[in-house]
Structures are given as structure tokens and as C-alpha cells.
Amino acid sequence: MRAERIFGAMFWLYLMVFAAYLFAPLIIMGAASFNESRFPTVIPWQGTTTEWFAAMWADAAMWQSLWTSVLVAVCVVVIVVPVGTAAALVLTSLHARARSFAYAVMVSPLLTPGVVIGISTLILWRQMGVGGGVFLIVLAQSTFIICYVMLMVMARLQRFDRTQEEAALGLGASRVMVFRRVTLPFLRPALIASAGLAVLQSIENYNTTLFVRGFETPLTVFIATKVRTGLTPAVNALALVIIVATVIGAIAYEVARRRRAA
């Protein structure tokens, strides 16, 4: 019994350390954006200030890179949601043998390192005279983000009752109408969720983007360059804003999902 209690106490200690490992970095990074020190840190605390937020807000290069990231994310969503949905529908209509082969091909971008996707896209398009830039960033990111959409739509399709389509056909609807009025509405939650995931994946991508960016500086590249060339707490302020925005977005998404499920 005593051994068990010691074991239990040790386990709770492990849980605490694990939680600290998860959150201490984020908390320290956020806290450092309020410290007056020129290098972002929390020790020593040189006084509380919001000047770094003002500095971040006034940074034109930051706005430029944010704009690039948003533009890329919007284009990515426009590509990946239709293509990913089409891929899921095509895959579920294939017969067993062809299906498992096609499946392996279609998830292969997920098993390819991000840098390789960026490099191969860059090489192909340079051959055709297109250099790095927004177009290639969108294309390279979409290559693997389509897989996520496809998997999410497929998961939803598994719960789809196909007799609904047949019933609509039997009642005289055209096939296009069946797709628009039966299949698509059923897939809607998965499409919205995958669009959200695609935006997140696109904005946070670094490995693939780095190779195809050309002279563009998306947000992740902007931050990584700052870390190497002149890190000030203004970058932390930006990080904190992004983190708060992502967490609020994630919670809002989760709440919406639960409300729908209930």
C-alpha cells in the first residue's frame, strides 16, 4: 500500500512537470513581451511596459508579412477544399484493390518531409520559368494540405447514408442537384472544419514555405528571421497576439462543434 502511494505521488509529480513543460515556454514567451529589457526575457524584470506592443503595431514589415500570409491562406483554402473533397469522393467510389493503391498515393504528401515538397515544387516550376513567390507558396502548401481535407471529408463520408442520394434520385432530382442538395449539405461541417484547419496549417507552415518563398516574407519567415538577426520583445508581443488569437479561435471552434453535436 505504501509503495502504491509513493508511486501515485510520483505520478502526480510527473503530471505537474509535464504540464510545466507544456506551458512554461509559452507563458515565459508571453510574459517577456511586457518586460522593458531589450532582449526578451523575464529575469531580470526591468519594469512593466506595453511599448513592445506599440513597436510591433508600428512595424510596417510585420503588416506586410501578415498580409502575405493571409493572402496565401485564402488562396490555399480556395484550392484545397474543392480538391480534397473531390479526392475523398473519388477514393470512396473506387473498388477495394485500386482504392488501397490510390490511398497510398494520396496520403504520400503527408509522409514526405515538408522541405522536400518545397524543393520539388521549386525545381519543377523554375524549369518552366516560374520563380518562388505567392503562387508557388500556395501550390506547395496545398500539395499536402489537400490530404488533411481529404481525410476529414472521408471520415465524414463514412457516416453518410447513401440511400439518401438514391431516394433523391428516385424522386426525380438530377445528379447535380443530388450533389448540391444532399451530399454537399451533409459534408458541410467537415468542409468548414477542414477550411479552418487549412488556414491554420497554411499560416503556421515554415519548412515548405521557406524554399518557395522567393522574395516574399510570410509571417513565419518574418519571425524566424527576427530571431536570428535582432530579436526584441516586439516579436514576443506579436507571438502573444497570435497565440491569443489561435486559442480563442480553437475554443470558439470547439464550442461550435459541441453545440452542433448536442
Partner: protein, 293 residues
Amino acid sequence: MGDLKNRFGPGLSTIFLILVLFWLAVMVLAPNLMMIDYALRPNLPPAALGGPDDTYTLSNILYLAGEPTHRAIFFKTIWASGLVAAVTFAVCYPIAFWMAQRATTGQLAIAMMLIIIPFFINEVLRTLAWFIILAYRGPLNAVLTNIGLIDAPIRWQGDGGVLAAMVYAYILFMLLPIYNAIESLDKAQIEAARDLGASPWRIHTRVVIPHAKAGIATGFVFTFMLAAGSYVAPALLGSPGSRWFTEIIYNWFFEGGDWNRGAAYALVLLVLCLAVVLITLRLFRVNLTDVAK
């Protein structure tokens, strides 16, 4: 195919097929073929392209085998990525077991949320967070010197820093598959083993881990692959002595100006990752369908 046409009519199914073929042909297949083509050709000045020297050769790949620094970095990237996967497993297994078998519904919901929140945050930002903690005059050194564990600050940047940040970045990819696998284990099996006198160690090695091996393999594959292909953690937290293979590839493209050699190195990385994925899956008899979830 017939089924697709039957279901959505000729117009829509053609659109679907065109979209999918565009993706697979133009975005997946063609870039990879062109990369292989590049990797197998020498780096020539534009005037010599199409000339007698423009033939297929293995010289770019052989260069990697012959250059001692690059070769060392390549092998180091492999074992270090394996180490990242192993450490991530050690960190995640107890908590995955607890969540799957011991936690109450409420505890589980909270734990899930706490674990997922950090992973909504950008990898670059998570690496930046470690950059700040591990800085020479940063909080970690300050705390350790203050409580007297170390006399002078330690330079964490380098292998140690890269390891800490990578394990941090890939926890979720290890934790979720293991959790899913252990969750499907019937509690009665653990109790039966205990009633028959098995020690906790034996319960885990003989009952839980064999049951969860597919999940563990999935976690390993993803963590290894992400670590081997990572650029941001070694670039921001590494030191000149801890270079990563992806950094060498980057240099071929944007500093060395030899895209052919860069393509060859990238091809080697791709083959390595695919080999690790396929061998691990075969060893653990896991189906690809179960991996990508």
C-alpha cells in the same frame, strides 16, 4: 470509376477527376520526377546544358557519401531523429496510459484540452519560446544558478536545445496514436494480469505495449519523419556544431548555388523517410490506412 459516374453524373465526375488528377500529376508526381531528374544530372553552366556532359550520373549522391562532414551530419540526423522519437515516447507513454485507462471523464477532457492547445500554436513560435528559455542569460540558467544546481550558466544552444524543442514540438503526434491504441485495451485484461501476480513492469511490457504496438509504431514514424525533416528547430536553436541535414540542403539551394546537389540531398532525405516509414510499418504489421488518421 463507373460508380463515381453513376453517383454524380458525367459532368460532376469529370470535374472531380480533373481536380484529383491535377493534384496528383502536377503537384505530387511531376515535382518529384523533376527533382529526381535534377538529382541525377551534373550542375552545368547554362551554355553546357544539352551538351555532351549533360548526362545522367550518380555523382551528386556519391558526393554525399564521399564528403565526410556531410556524411557525418546525415548519420547524426538519423540517429538524433531516432533519439527524439525515443525520448518523445518515454515522455508520452505514462500520460497516454493514464489518460486511456485511469483518468475520469472530466480529467480526460481537461487533459486533452491542455495538451492540444499548445499544438494549435505555430512551430516557429514554439521554437522561439525555447530560444528565450534556453538563452545564455535566460530564465533556465538564472533559475538553475539561483538554486545552486550549476555554478555558471550553460550554453544550451546546440544538440540539447534542439532535442528539447523537437520533443516539445512533436508530443501530440506521439501521444494521440498511443492514447488511441491503449484506449481500446479492455481494463479487465490489466486486472487479470495483476490478479495472476504480474508486476506493474510486466503488465506494461507484456500486456499494454504489445496491445498498443500499432499506435506506438505510428507515433514513432511521424515523430522520426518530422524530426528528420525539421528545419526551424536546428536553425534557431542549434550551434555550428549541431547542424542538421536539412540545413545542408538549404545551403546548396540558397548559398552554395548548386541545385542539382541540393536535389540529390533532398532525394536522399525523402528515400530515408519513406524507408523508415515502410520498414516500421512492416515490422509492426501496421496498415497504412491506420497510420494517416
